[in-house]
Homo-oligomer: 323 residues x 2
């Protein structure tokens, strides 16, 4: 039996008895983000989901699920046309806008009516304009299967949701950074590798710091929530998702986890405060990050660090989009 | 009407009439990768999918879809228990192994039987052990809805599939690199930002080079296929997915696209060759990449480039896992 056989789960249970554990497990499957839109007799609805999936090529079918608790559920349940808007990496703000509690989300959004009657959001990576093909009851949700009447794609990269946070995807580091351009190397040896080196260094440093976070017993949402509560006095539970850029459910789960561990308390006006144990954990993470940076830089001469920083600053400033 | 209103699609059609376009659009929704396993009376089956999605918390339900053309379809159709194995970023090889045509995929894999009778692959991020709850016909696929009896999670980061290639996720660059550690800055000013700078530089350089690829009219799979055919004389169509690390369907679509554009021909023994137009395109991409690197480095003194490269080399070598 191989070494990996001995790897034990962090946690394991019947999800009927622990739905937060179930959500944490589900969150490990990375997804894109889709906003489903519809319009019927002047009533418009939009739901942000990460349950989108392809089903069939012939006929062309896709699916997604809507909670029975969603206030848009009756509108989609009626079974008319809808559109799936796949978000681009530039649309984190759009995702946050459509996940908020604003009454008329379309008023402040860029969109236009599609050929099949559903609103199409501008700036997306892809649109699927659908008719409702089937509805399937699935516990507290309904699975909507759509027959795609029109599919469109645009330039851009996908917005992702992985481990509870908005993310972007890069080619897997074991697939070389840009294999389609593996030809002759540039003439000047010093130019040969800086860009691929930056890609590889990013990947390795991320992975090593993730191990530190795990060592502290924290997943990303818990680490981010504890930092915000520490930094922002008087922060209330309903404001946390907005300031952490986490999903609503991941935020609620992280708050509940911290409260259960005795690290977080809620005041009479709903303001959140860390307990002494919570503050100690927050400070332990800060110390870990400082030590991580210090250890990484140890043994590199001070002058080299300054030069590297200058080079990176130049690369960043010349590629940053003008505001 | 905003500026984004004028953005035109790269392509748009009825997917019933262009299933390759439909697949290209579907590929823009990033996903994790799951291997679904089952065992019944000594017969084991495994299917690699990116159609996994969550459905319901109460009862705990998940779903995925299986093609009627899959040779494992009859085994899953029988309706017994199955397990969903969510792959970690370290498991690209496992994904490739289980997507291959090897007869007994379990023989060379690390796995053990789960509590509910299905094989559980070692090294995964999460396992969902399920009973079949419902099967729904969806065109050329069947949607399998599973009632989750046991959910487990492990340390690690997710393996993703985005824009046709294996990927890893990083926090969105507009969410700061490590917001949970936004506390006091390190003491030495030169250390303050190198790691966050590397993260930001990677993101910006990737995005800018992606624009170059788009400008050449290429998506990632087409760019990668053309590079491999150029570099490997005698390469055959059925070998391309393996050497490019692309998905099987993305590879087939890219080959068909290149053939249609008159850039690729297939010899009598099935060996692929680029036409003159194909070679010119490949060389145009190489030139773009060289010019991109040269332009990025322009104006940075040669000595600074050498120092930066030395610093990055040190950061890479001290974080690379020992072989």
């Amino acid at each position: 039996m191989s070494e990996s056989a001995t790897r034990l789960p962090i946690e394991s249970a019947d999800p009927a008895e622990d739905s937060r554990l179930f959500r944490r497990c589900l969150g490990l499957y990375g997804t894109g983000i889709a906003i489903i839109t519809m319009e019927n007799a002047g009533q418009r609805a939009a739901v942000t989901v990460n349950s989108f999936a392809s089903v069939s090529l012939d006929p062309p079918l896709v699916l997604w699920s809507i909670s029975h608790a969603s206030r848009s559920y009756p509108l989609f349940k009626a079974g008319g046309p809808f559109a799936v808007n796949i978000l681009a990496s530039t649309q984190m703000g759009v995702s946050r806008h459509f996940s908020s509690k604003i009454e008329d989300k379309f008023a402040d959004a860029d969109w236009s009516p599609g050929q099949h009657g559903s609103p199409l959001l501008h700036g997306c990576l892809a649109h699927f304009e659908c008719e409702t093909y089937a509805q399937v009851e699935g516990g507290d949700h309904t699975v909507l299967i759509g027959l795609v009447r029109r599919a469109s794609r645009f330039e851009g990269e996908p917005l992702l949701f992985a481990q509870g946070q908005y993310s972007v995807a890069y080619a897997h580091p074991e697939v070389s950074a840009a294999p389609e351009v593996s030809g002759p190397k540039p003439e000047m040896p010093s130019q040969a590798g800086i860009i691929p080196q930056i890609f590889e260094a990013h990947h390795l440093l991320s992975a090593v710091f993730d191990e530190h976070r795990h060592a502290e017993g924290l997943d990303i949402p818990v680490a981010r929530v504890i930092a915000c509560v520490y930094d922002i006095p008087g922060l209330k539970a309903e404001q946390v998702a907005r300031v952490t850029y986490l999903g609503q459910r991941d935020t609620e789960d992280a708050l509940a986890t911290l409260a259960e561990r005795g690290m977080l308390v809620s005041g009479t006006a709903g303001e959140l405060t860390l307990t002494e144990a919570g503050k100690r954990l927050r400070e332990a993470i800060q110390t870990r990050w400082r030590n991580f940076q210090r250890d990484q830089m140890a043994g590199i001469p001070e002058a080299d660090l300054r030069t590297t920083q200058k080079t990176l600053s130049k690369l960043i400033s010349q590629n940053r989009a003008p505001n």
